[in-house]
Symmetry: C2
Subunit: 344 residues, 2 copies
C-alpha cells in the first residue's frame, strides 16, 4: 500500500486528484507516465495564445492557466504510448487541440450559463464581459484547428466530428432545459455528445496515430466514450454533494440553470416533487435550490448515479483488461478509478 | 453600352448587385464566370448544415439561405480560374469554407452588437436567442474547418491565420468602441484584419491552388486585401447614406453601437461635435443618432470615404492590369467596380 502510494507522485495538474485518491494495487500516476509529453502540451498552449491583441492572450490565459485537469490530452497521450507511439511530434499537437477545444467550449458555456465562477475564480465571462469572452472562445477554436489541421484527413474528420457532436450535445441539452420530460436516455445522449466525444476521439486518435490496428482503435474509442460518461456523471454528482472549495464553484448550479443533470433526472423519476418544482422554475430561489439539493441528498439518486458511473467505469476497465500489460495500460486503468473516486 | 448591359446577366446572389451597377466597357458579370462552381458551393453549404439537431440546421439556414452576396467564395473561385485552375474539387471546398467562416462571424457579431436585423429580416440572435445562435456560430466554424482541413498544411495555416486576424480585428474594434481617440490608422488596421483578411486569403489560396507562382500568389493577396478594404469602406458609407430597404437593415447602426466606422472617424477629424457626442454616448437617443447622421451627410466625410474606397479599388485594379487578359481577369475587374458602386 505504502509502495503504491509513493508511486502516485505529486505532479502539477492531476497531482491533487492523485494525492486524494485511495491507493490500490497496481495504481500508477497516469500523469507521470506521459509527463514529458504533457509539458510539451503546456508549452504549445502557452505559445499559441500569444496575440497582438493582449486581451485575447489574457482571457485565454485566465482559463488555460487556471487549473485545468488536462484529462483529455492525458487520455490522448496515454493511448498513443500504449500502442507503441514513439515520435512526440506525432501526438503532442493533437493532444493540445483536444484541450483547446475543451477550453473554447468552457468559455462559450460560461456565456450560455451566465456563470460567475469557474475553477475557483471569477469566470472569464464575469471578468471580461460577453463580447471579449465570445471572441476569445472563437480564437481558441481556431488555434485548435490550426494544430489539428496538420494531421491527415482521417484525424481532421474525427476531430471535426467530435466538435460537431459537442455543439449538438449543447443544443440537445438546451432543448431539455427545465424540461420535466427529460429521460435517462436523453441524458446519456447529451453526455455522449457533449462530454464523452472529446475523450473518445482523443483515445481513438492516440491509438490510430501510434499505428494500432482498426479493431484496437475501436476499442480505445469505447474506452474513451465510457470514461467520458463516467466523468460527466461524477461532475453531476459533485454539483449536488461536492464542496464549494474543492470544486472551485458553488453546488446546485445545475438546478439554478435548469440543466438536466443525472441526479436531478433520477430524483424526478423517484417522484421528488420539491426537485421537480425547483428544476421547472425559471428563477428558483436560493431556498428552493437548497430544499431540492437536500431532497436529492436524502433520496437514492446519488447512490444510483454513482452506481451508473461505476458501470461505465467497468466498461472502460473491460477494454483495458484485454490489452497486454504495460505502464500505460496501468495509467489508463488508474485514471478511470481516479475519475470516479474524485471529489473535485 | 447595351451590349455590355446584356453581358451582365441576372443571376442569383450577385444578380442585384450586377443589375444595379452602371455598365461600362469590358464589364462582365463575375458571377456567370464561375456559375457552376458557385452552385457547387451552394450545394456544399446546404449539405454541411444538416444536423441531427434541427435547430442547428434551421439557424444556419436562416442566415446562409438569407441572401448573402457570396463575394468571398466568388473571389476565391475567380482567382483559381484566372491562373488556369481546372479541377473543381481542388477549389470548391475551400471557397465554401470562406463563406462558412464569414457566416459564423456574422452570427457571433450579431450577438456582440445585439443586432435585431440582418439581411432584411430578424437576426438569428433576435429570433433564436443568444444561446442557440452562439452554438450555431461554433457549428459553422467547425464545418468551415472540416472543409479547410482537407487541404495541405499551407492552406490550413493561411486559413487559420485569416481567422486569427478576424478575431484580432474584432477585439481591436472593441477597444475603440465609443473611443474618440480612434485614428484613421487604427481603422485601417481593424478593417485589414476584420474584413479584408478573408478576401485576401481567398484570393491567395485560389491562385496558390491553381499552381500560380509565389509572386503571382502574392499579387492576388494584394488584390484581395485592397478589394476587402474598399468593400468595408462602402459598407460603412452605406450605414450613413444607404436606404433601409436596400440594405436590409436600418442606417445609423455604427453610431448606435459605437463602432468606429470610417465616416464617423472622418467627421470626428473634421471637428463635428454632434457626431463626437453621439459616438461617445453609451446610449445615444434616436434624435442624437439622427442629428449625427445628418451632420455626417452634410459634411465632407462621405466624399472623403468614397474617395478612399476608390483609391483602394485602384490598387486592386493595378494588380489585375498586370495579368494577361482573360474572362476571369475581367470578372475580377468588374467585381471591384460593382463593389464600390453598390448601394446595398
Amino acid at each position: 500500500m505504502q509502495e503504491n502510494k509513493r508511486k502516485m507522485a505529486s505532479h502539477s495538474f492531476v497531482a491533487e486528484l492523485v494525492r486524494k485518491a485511495p491507493p490500490f494495487k497496481g495504481a500508477i500516476d497516469p500523469f507521470t507516465c506521459v509527463q514529458a509529453e504533457l509539458e510539451l502540451v503546456e508549452q504549445n498552449l502557452t505559445r499559441c495564445i500569444r496575440s497582438s491583441e493582449a486581451a485575447l492572450t489574457d482571457i485565454s490565459s485566465h482559463l488555460i492557466h487556471g487549473g485545468g485537469k488536462r484529462v483529455r490530452p492525458l487520455v490522448t497521450l496515454l493511448a498513443f504510448k500504449l500502442f507503441g507511439g514513439k515520435k512526440l511530434e506525432d501526438i503532442v499537437d493533437i493532444a493540445t487541440a483536444m484541450e483547446l477545444i475543451h477550453t473554447a467550449t468552457l468559455l462559450h458555456d460560461d456565456i450560455i450559463d451566465g456563470a460567475d465562477v469557474r475553477r475557483g475564480k471569477e469566470s472569464a465571462y464575469k471578468k471580461f464581459g460577453l463580447k471579449a469572452t465570445l471572441v476569445t472562445g472563437d480564437f481558441l477554436f481556431i488555434k485548435a484547428f490550426e494544430f489539428a489541421g496538420k494531421f491527415d484527413d482521417t484525424v481532421v474528420q474525427w476531430t471535426a466530428d467530435a466538435c460537431t457532436r459537442l455543439t449538438e450535445g449543447e443544443m440537445l441539452q438546451g432543448s431539455f432545459n427545465r424540461n420535466l420530460n427529460v429521460t435517462l436516455e436523453d441524458y446519456l445522449e447529451i453526455v455522449r455528445r457533449k462530454t464523452a466525444s472529446l475523450f473518445q476521439t482523443g483515445a481513438r486518435i492516440g491509438a490510430y496515430l501510434a499505428g494500432a490496428k482498426p479493431a484496437l482503435v475501436q476499442q480505445m474509442d469505447e474506452y474513451g466514450m465510457n470514461l467520458g460518461i463516467a466523468f460527466q456523471i461524477i461532475d453531476d454528482v459533485l454539483d449536488v454533494v461536492g464542496h464549494k472549495e474543492l470544486l472551485g464553484k458553488p453546488v446546485g448550479i445545475d438546478l439554478r440553470d435548469g440543466n438536466p443533470s443525472l441526479p436531478i433526472i433520477l430524483a424526478l423519476n423517484g417522484g421528488q416533487k420539491v426537485v421537480a418544482e425547483a428544476f421547472e422554475c425559471a428563477h428558483p430561489t436560493t431556498e428552493q435550490i437548497r430544499g431540492a439539493i437536500e431532497a436529492i441528498r436524502e433520496g437514492s439518486a446519488i447512490q444510483q448515479a454513482k452506481s451508473l458511473s461505476k458501470s461505465y467505469a467497468e466498461r472502460a476497465y473491460k477494454v483495458i483488461k484485454k490489452l497486454p500489460p504495460s505502464l500505460y495500460r496501468n495509467g489508463l486503468k488508474t485514471l478511470v478509478r481516479l475519475i470516479i473516486e474524485r471529489d473535485f
